[in-house]
Symmetry: D2
Subunit: 138 residues, 4 copies
């Protein structure tokens, strides 16, 4: 399949649950902050999936999405074995970039643990900047 044939993404947000794993927690007894970039990645991967695509298929077609910018504000710690929700939303999508915002919440009480955003750009296999594929522009 060619990337030009992918149908437009219709769904702009989703919620994904993950359970905090033992190895993600540090000696302060909270999730190490570096893992939030990984939770964000899981969130936007699942948002793509509810639109019908595995991110793997994009890379197989030569569409590499790379993170050009990331920010995160940490409000409240997540702890081992807690179930958290990754709320992911597309906030901007044009030929130059794809932006997502994320809210990480405790599933149990809805408490906000972290908020962040990422900006993705599209590069080819050689790392050269490319316009964002049409189907991702929603």
């Amino acid at each position: 399949m060619r990337i030009e044939d992918f149908k437009k993404c219709q769904i702009g947000e989703c919620v994904t649950q993950v359970q905090v794993r033992y190895y993600e927690v540090d000696r302060q007894n909270v999730v190490h902050h570096s893992n939030y970039a990984r939770y964000f990645e899981i969130g936007r991967t699942e948002l793509l999936r509810v639109n019908g695509y595995a991110y793997k298929d994009l890379e197989d077609c030569g569409v590499m999405l790379v993170v050009a910018k990331l920010d995160c504000r940490f409000k409240y710690p997540a702890r081992y074995d807690e179930i958290i929700e990754i709320h992911t939303r597309v906030t901007r999508a044009d030929r130059a970039r794809l932006e997502h915002s994320y809210t990480i919440r405790h599933k149990a009480d809805g408490k906000i643990l972290a908020e962040g955003s990422t900006t993705l750009v599209h590069v080819d296999r050689e790392g050269k900047l490319q316009p964002m594929p049409e189907f991702l522009l929603g």
Copy 2:
């Protein structure tokens, strides 16, 4: 030793070298972006060390520094086995927060790979917000 007896940090910046490890690199053949938060952590830990302190000693005294905010702009990918430099600098230090900025460079040619910043706050063992210890205010 009590944290009140720590002498003031005099040195506001440093450069730390690390070599990219195999497990840090992803299937795009570049360092996975989540590792930059870890490089930043190494950078500010080493900046503390050139000032005479192991961060471990702070935690042993009950001073937990936690990341409240992080941002990073990724300019150019780092690859397996490359030696990179973490340039770390204190950009703000007051009773409420400790801010660092970071520039990640290729050692070989000085090329900028990423730039970012973090804001740390001080909490006690129960996670309650505390004023930043005097000795960290430089």
Copy 3:
């Protein structure tokens, strides 16, 4: 609750599904071998859970289970986004140790990806060796 009051574990094996995450895959395009120790940990945690316990509760009661021995044979690579099954089984449980064996399989075709085992011992909060709690002896 005290650990002495925990009811005996009745179930000796279980199957847990996980989906390979992007950051677990290395530049050979396969799951980095260090992640299998983490999959094993997920497997035995879930086996405990189907017996009615969160491992978190054990640690909260002062029961720290630590890995004293681990081995793994890697048969076939797992790849990004594949769903794998962790088949976990208690193979020995006595006052000195708790042994599990693991088989990691592709969910799609049942193919064996890896086989391994771990030996856990029980230490208290100071790291001193303790007899395995009765309820874990099944």
Copy 4:
């Protein structure tokens, strides 16, 4: 350069120092056991380097070394910021496999923290088993 032109490895063992990083430590306040597979990898990479080769160059020549077997016995915990020594030694090298043994020690007092071994096999870019290159047979 072609892999056939690589000169034979002459050095069969080496010692590498690493300092335990914050994110490697878990809520038991010790290095998470999955990291030992990563320390072993660092050890054998550095053993290759003292023989004049970067493992990166092997992969660039299409020589992928993959871990077929790993075992580890954990004797004593490593903690945050401690300097540890990875003692790496080739214990067997023939056309079918390359075996290393590892001893992880505290630098400060020489105490043994862990002992393990790995078996590597050589596969090409398509994952097909190949005879071990001559120069690795020492």
